[in-house]
């Protein structure tokens, strides 16, 4: 009979699987895997926790209909709820998370950057249901649908707030709904249009060289001499400039032309760079790193004009 080799192969495969199961079980009960939350997961375990999550969230959040996120009363509601329910774990601009949020692994990320990769419905879904195998709780049973959309609206707005503005918002006893920070700036595009129309990255690279920026900064694409200030690599991804200005084109230009207007004590000198030149420099710096954050910011600004954020892609 020629089925014997097949039989043998099958038995061998079964034996290997059985051994793996027993081995896995022994590993599990042996206590070898460190489950301490103050040590990082092994890379493969971390990968397993993440794999499939994005797709799962995308699929399950389909068919939700975001309301008008521009509504200031919604933003205000979102702010109050964020401070109560999310800040303890995720912190906020310039505000640390509390003890409860510190010992968790995977760590609660700052939502300033993490929320860029999700559209409104996806955020709504995550906040409603939470994330298995992580410390992210679901809030749907306790918060109403309007509350949850309010939080989504606030997550869209908070990325445009400086630490000082956030402090003011969260420490105010009673906020009027007409507070500018709780409204979408309808006639401010944070310099995006100008950057696109006039910024010339090639010219920017030359200026970075001729103004001697490289004597203090590592600049992608240029040999640098020494590092007085932070590297300007992956600049598009950076949330803040000099720790306190939201990194949007208009602030980058203003910082480069006159850093001391924002931070009188800063060790970065005023180099008399003209605003038009600073725009070119910004255009070059923004080519470094993933542009997801800037794209998300621009999309957020659409809320000021339209009824809801347009879908991703």
């Amino acid at each position: 009979m020629n089925s014997t080799p097949i039989k043998t192969a099958l038995i061998a495969i079964a034996a290997v699987i059985a051994l793996q199961l027993v081995g896995g079980l022994l590993f599990m009960v042996s206590g070898t895997y460190n489950i301490a939350a103050d040590e990082p997961h092994l890379k493969p375990v971390r990968w397993m926790l993440q794999a499939g999550r994005t797709r799962a969230i995308q699929m399950r959040s389909r068919g939700l209909h975001p309301p008008n996120l521009r509504d200031p009363s919604l933003l205000k509601r979102g702010l109050v709820l964020y401070r109560q329910n999310c800040q303890p774990c995720h912190g906020g601009p310039g505000t640390a998370n509390e003890q409860i949020g510190r010992g968790i692994d995977p760590k609660p990320p700052p939502l300033l950057t993490a929320s860029n990769k999700w559209d409104d419905s996806e955020l709504f879904w995550i906040i409603s249901h939470g994330l298995k195998l992580s410390g992210m709780p679901g809030f749907a049973p306790r918060l109403s649908e309007t509350d949850l959309w309010g939080i989504v609206a606030f997550l869209r707005r908070v990325v445009l707030l400086s630490p000082a503005e956030y402090k003011r918002l969260t420490s105010a006893e009673d906020l009027g709904a007409d507070d500018p920070l709780l409204n979408w700036p309808s006639n401010n595009d944070y310099g995006f249009a100008q950057l696109k129309a006039q910024g010339d990255a090639k010219r920017g690279l030359e200026l970075l060289q001729s103004y001697g920026c490289i004597s203090c900064h590592m600049v992608p694409g240029l040999a640098h001499q020494r590092s007085a200030g932070p590297p300007l690599t992956r600049f598009a991804e950076r949330q803040y400039i000099a720790g306190s200005l939201v990194n949007v084109p208009s602030n980058a230009v203003a910082w480069i032309t006159n850093p001391k207007q924002f931070k009188p004590q800063t060790l970065m000198p005023n180099l008399n760079v003209q605003p038009a030149e600073a725009l070119h420099i910004a255009a070059y710096l923004y080519t470094s790193g993933s542009s997801d954050r800037l794209t998300a910011l621009e999309r957020n600004l659409q809320i000021a004009k339209e009824s809801s954020t347009p879908k991703l892609n």
């Binding site: 103050d38 040590e39 990082p40 971390r46 912190g91 601009p93 310039g94 505000t95 640390a96 510190r102 995977p106 760590k107 609660p108 990320p109 700052p110 300033l112 950057t113 630490p163 000082a164 402090k167 203090c216 590592m218 020494r226 590092s227 007085a228 200030g229 932070p230 590297p231 690599t233 992956r234 991804e237 950076r238 949330q239 803040y240 000099a242 720790g243 306190s244 931070k263 004590q265 800063t266 060790l267 970065m268 954050r293």
Partner: protein, 124 residues
């Protein structure tokens, strides 16, 4: 031929071990801190959710500047000269140095700040 190759390989290993040891000394000496404890604390305090910190797990945050090459940086937060004492102060009380900046006081103790600084100075 093979011998030359082996010798070269050994040399490379020895050199990289030396440069790693050199880096660890660069951290340990000026701070009196422990590089390995520092690495653990940087993970546990979640510095990596705001900073890129080479060598620390999951440290790829973009809220603050990258700490890549921090050991050879001249200034801290654009306000202080990068000396061990100033770094201890920044890591434990950033809000005192630069009120209203986006790095919150995380409750890092003086002792822990030493260990953290020891690790940061290994980043060349």
């Amino acid at each position: 031929m093979r011998i030359t190759f082996c010798a070269l390989a050994l040399l490379a290993i020895a050199l990289s071990a030396c440069s790693r040891r050199g880096a660890i000394e660069a951290g340990q000496q000026p701070t009196g801190g422990d590089v390995r404890i520092g690495e653990h604390l940087i993970y546990a305090y979640g510095c990596g959710s705001c900073h890129v910190v080479p060598g620390v797990a999951e440290a790829n945050g973009t809220v603050g500047p990258t700490l890549q090459g921090f050991g050879s940086r001249y200034y801290i937060a654009g306000l202080l000269v990068n000396t061990p004492q100033n770094l201890f102060r920044w890591v434990s009380k950033p809000q005192e140095v630069d009120p209203g900046n986006a790095m919150p006081d995380l409750g890092v103790t003086e002792r822990q700040a030493r260990d953290i600084a020891a690790y940061l100075y290994t980043l060349q």
